[in-house]
């Protein structure tokens, strides 16, 4: 067994794992954070997307031991308890989800996009979702939700930059 020390959603955790254990298994089974989903076995679907040291990764394709020393954010850590990240609010507002299974991965990937491109056009949004499958929505409302979140976050950034109350 190997010892893995990492910070998950701001909380320091140490977990003993088999060397073959995947990060997604550590997150789901050892830490009980089941918002991160497994939708395939070939690193295609993106349902398991989380942030590792601020970058979106497919947690089915990272060994748990590779995450030693890292800081991981999952869907459960996107907003304080009872609150919503602008992407979560936008997915709700724009009906960007149906069965909800791909949704956490979609939100984590979209957050990664918006971190580097605060005003993506639809083409950029659709290409950023290249590694995330959805079978319910035809992607239409997912794209609309990400666009909406980008707009809201830009307004939020602008008002906070001006020092206005939020």
């Amino acid at each position: 067994m190997e010892s893995v020390a990492l910070v998950v959603n701001g909380v320091a955790r140490t977990v003993e794992v088999e060397p073959r254990r995947l990060l997604v298994q550590l997150i789901r089974e050892d830490l009980g954070l089941t918002g991160t989903h497994v939708g395939c076995d070939t690193s295609q679907c993106g349902a398991c997307t989380v942030h590792m040291d601020g970058v979106a990764v497919k947690s089915c394709t990272v060994l748990a031991v590779q995450a030693d020393g890292s800081s991981v954010t999952t869907i459960e850590g996107m907003a304080p308890e009872g609150g919503l990240h602008p992407l979560q609010a936008a997915f709700w507002e724009k009906h960007g989800l149906q069965c909800g299974f791909c949704t956490p991965g979609m939100i984590m990937t979209a957050a990664d996009l918006l971190a580097s491109d605060t005003d993506p056009d639809d083409d950029a949004i659709r290409h950023a979702l290249e590694g995330n499958f959805c079978r319910c929505t035809g992607y239409h409302n997912i794209v609309a939700a990400i666009r909406e979140a980008a707009n809201k976050m830009q307004v939020g950034a602008a008002t906070s930059a001006e020092g206005a109350p939020r």
């Binding site: 089941t34 939708g39 070939t42 709700w92 299974f101 290249e130 959805c134 929505t137 035809g138 794209v143």
Partner: protein
């Protein structure tokens, strides 16, 4: 005052848990003492099992038990919908066992299983099981499987034929085709698809030795039906000893309707190991072999008519590939749900269809979004375009001349709906097809198509526009038709609902339907809030558990809004009537003098003499002072069997551009006009259409399950199967016409399948329109660059 939300774009009440990662899907369930089961699957598509040696596996770390088919006394899985409705029809039925015993008929059929402390240990131990196989020859093509000399899969199915089913007037249609001025013939393939809900299937079985009862959690669209099938047909365990629960279901699209071997396996295994819970979750590659596939038809179509555009006959012969053994309702899909709606929205006087159901060494085929109706729509909509091209008539004009006229309803469809068994008249009850087509074609600029094509040509692109004017049969009903012996799936098709208004006025609605992402908790609450004047926030919709919900047939076939919600409205009507009687008692007035306005029950002419439904529920539920003969509690159950199916329709238009040099097809515009009747929540309706359209487009352009001749699934993972991605689609433009359904009080028709039914043919017709100038008349889907490039090269060489 309660705000009426019926018909509004209400945000979904189920979403907060999903967007915060707090959904609870099957694999999220952890239980004390839970074990894990893995299934050894056949590497061969056709083989006899000489022997299985499990001794090494039994001593592997963490292994609790190893089973083979010989250990399990259960019956084969049930066949719930054989091909029927034809006098003397024979079905040669072979369904899977919990684990195969003597032979396997497709690559992926389960032959042994390991229960271990962890899933990894169970999978490790599978590799220590040795099977002595006798490989056999294979056949994967449905047409070839029926030819003389083909390998035979089952002793009771000569020439691999499951059934030979017909519908319509053979003599009349033969005569119409023989006498026609023009007959267009085409062989078309509706390729096999892998449905791909994002959550794979899984089950947890738990046998409670203390009570001798089982609980089965399953990612299912039909927990009530599965309890019935697993007990009465498979395991012999009494029905009242089993409870089935569907947790949050991560998409289904038909795949989770059925009774699967793994459901019985986890029940057997949990009891065999003394009552610890046993979890099985398929991997995605495993899912591609162990969960049903869709479509897979080879069809010979003949469409006959006059040079003036009058269609006089449609004759169709279809080979339907049903796999190595049959799934639960596999034969029902290419018969009742296909042959009976082949003539679509057209008044075609002579229709005849033969369908041969066929065994091949492939995974079983059953209902996938649309289920039979996309295949039928593809046939008739390709046929209309081919006929128009043959006689040199505009495609829209040909359709216009043959639409069932708006004053012709109820319309008795000659392909057989009106001649259903049981004496019940089944007819197309409403429709108005031309305005939907006109709206779609105007919106997309059909009149300017030549200029649009010229502009694309200037950029080196072949532009094509295609459309389909579809109809759909939804909410399949009534029970006396679809449930009648020989036609339906041997079961009724009513739905159920119970409403309890508790002492605090908070209201619990339990229903027999089962959501998989459609937002039922929101839409049922919108309807019940409208009916009872109770705020949506005070209403909870419960479903998915055979303990605590009334029996229902589940959700598929776009039936929940038309059948399930009508049951809920009927229960609400009973609630109102009881509340009204009790209000009269409370207000010391005559029942006839009590008027209802939302939540308020008041004496006619004296609006201040009133009780709210919450006040009525409090007093009636306490039951201190009920009137003579009235039982306490505001609690009513209703069952609803709808008098007819519903008939959505519309026109979908696709515009594609093809790169001549690469064969790449880009979908550049997609516009739909749908008439799904009235809408409970237009936002959710739009979402259903978007998703269905994307799945249908996927079939036309990218998707296809591919088997090698020896029965290996070459498109065996998400790396190999072309799941559509976001960047492959444009925005989808939606428009509507509204023709309320006459068969339910909401006027709704159902919308889950419409997009998938309409879009495949629209995109296919667009690609063929683009390629028509090259002399290409028909290509089979999917229109991958390889297929299209090859066709372009061949056409140019031969010119």
């Amino acid at each position: 005052m309660t705000i009426d939300m019926l018909g509004e774009r209400v945000k979904r009440t189920e979403d907060p848990k999903f967007i915060t990662g707090k959904g609870r899907y099957l694999d999220d369930i952890q239980m004390p003492g839970m074990t894990h089961i893995a299934i050894l699957r056949s590497p061969y598509a056709h083989a006899n099992i000489r022997s299985i040696d499990t001794s090494a596996a039994k001593s592997m770390p963490g292994v609790i038990a190893v089973f083979t088919g010989a250990d399990i006394p259960y019956n084969p899985l049930p066949m719930a919908w054989p091909a029927g409705g034809v006098a003397g029809i024979r079905n040669n039925i072979n369904t899977p066992r919990t684990l195969a015993t003597d032979s396997v008929k497709w690559s992926g059929e389960g032959v042994a299983a390991v229960v271990a402390e962890t899933a990894e240990q169970a999978h490790d131990a599978l590799e220590a099981i040795t099977v002595d196989w006798e490989p056999l020859p294979t056949v994967v093509d449905a047409e070839k499987a029926t030819q003389p000399g083909a390998v035979q899969l089952h002793e009771n199915a000569p020439n691999n034929i499951v059934f030979e089913w017909t519908v319509g007037d053979k003599a009349g249609t033969d005569a119409a085709v023989d006498a026609a001025e023009v007959v267009v013939r085409q062989r078309i393939v509706n390729q096999r698809l892998i449905p791909n809900p994002m959550e794979v299937r899984g089950d947890i079985g738990w046998y409670n030795p203390g009570t001798d009862e089982y609980t089965v959690w399953m990612s299912s669209q039909t927990p009530h039906i599965q309890r019935l099938l697993l007990t009465a047909f498979v395991t012999g365990i009494p029905e009242h000893k089993v409870r089935c629960i569907s947790p949050d279901v991560g998409g289904a699209f038909g795949t989770k309707i059925f009774c699967y071997a793994d459901m019985a396996l986890v029940m057997f295994a949990s009891k065999a190991i003394g009552g610890r819970p046993v979890k099985w979750v398929e991997g995605r590659r495993e899912s591609y072999q162990s969960t049903i596939h869709g479509r897979d038809h080879i069809t010979y179509l003949e469409i006959a008519g006059k040079r003036d555009g009058t269609i006089t006959g449609l004759r169709v012969k279809t080979f339907a590939n049903l796999g190595g053994r049959l799934s639960t309702i596999g034969p029902g899909i290419p018969t009742t749900l296909y042959g009976r709606v082949l003539s679509g929205c057209y008044k075609i006087p002579n229709v005849y269809c033969e369908v041969t159901g066929v065994y091949t060494n492939t995974t079983f085929v059953d209902a996938y979004r649309g289920a039979g109706r996309p295949e039928a729509t593809y046939v008739i909509e390709r046929a209309m375009d081919l006929f128009a091209a043959e006689i040199g008539m505009d495609r829209a004009e040909l359709r216009r001349r043959n639409f069932i006229a708006p004053d012709a309803f109820p319309y008795d469809n000659p392909s057989g709906l009106g001649t259903a068994s049981g004496g019940a008249k089944i007819y197309i009850d409403s429709g108005n097809y031309e305005p939907a087509m006109d709206m779609a074609l105007a919106a997309v600029g059909y009149a300017d198509l030549a200029a649009t094509k010229a502009e694309a040509a200037s950029r080196g692109k072949l532009l094509g526009l295609g459309f389909s004017t579809y109809i759909e049969v939804c909410g399949v009903a009534p029970s006396k038709w679809i449930g009648a012996v020989g036609e339906g799936w041997g079961a009724a098709m009513w739905e159920s609902a119970n409403i309890r208004v508790h002492l605090t006025g908070k209201t619990v609605v339990t229903v027999g339907t089962q959501p998989q992402g459609q937002g039922h908790e929101t839409t049922y609450a919108q309807v019940i809030s409208h009916e009872l004047g109770i705020p949506m926030d005070d209403i909870v919709i419960q479903h998915s558990d055979t303990l605590g919900t009334p029996f229902g047939y589940g959700s598929y076939g776009s039936r929940t809004s038309s059948v399930g919600m009508t049951a809920a409205i009927k229960a609400a009507t009973k609630i109102r009537e009881k509340a009204r009687k009790f209000a009269a008692h409370m207000l010391e007035a005559s029942v006839d003098d009590i008027e209802i306005d939302g939540p308020n029950y008041f004496v006619k002419g004296s609006p201040d003499k009133k009780k709210t439904i919450q006040e009525i529920a409090f007093a009636l539920d306490l039951g201190f002072d009920p009137p003579e003969g009235m039982e306490p509690y505001l609690d009513e159950t209703a069952y609803w069997d709808t008098p007819n199916c519903t008939w959505p329709f519309g026109t979908h238009v696709a515009i594609v551009e093809i790169d001549k040099e690469t064969g790449q097809v880009d979908l550049v515009r997609y516009l739909a006009v749908d008439d799904v009747g009235k809408k409970i929540n237009p936002m959710i309706v739009d979402g259903q259409l978007h998703g269905g359209i994307a799945q249908g487009v996927g079939q036309a352009l990218w998707e296809g399950a591919v088997y090698s001749d020896d029965g290996q699934l070459l498109s065996g993972s998400m790396l190999d199967y072309a799941m559509p991605r976001a960047s492959w689609f444009p925005d989808i433009e939606l428009h509507e016409t509204v023709t309320p359904s006459p068969v339910n009080p909401l006027g709704v028709k159902g919308v889950g399948e419409a997009g998938a039914i309409a879009s495949t043919a629209a995109v296919s017709n667009a690609v063929m329109d683009a390629l028509a100038p090259l002399g290409i008349r028909h290509l089979d889907m999917p229109y991958t660059p390889q297929t299209v490039w090859h066709a372009i090269q061949t056409a140019e060489v031969s010119r």
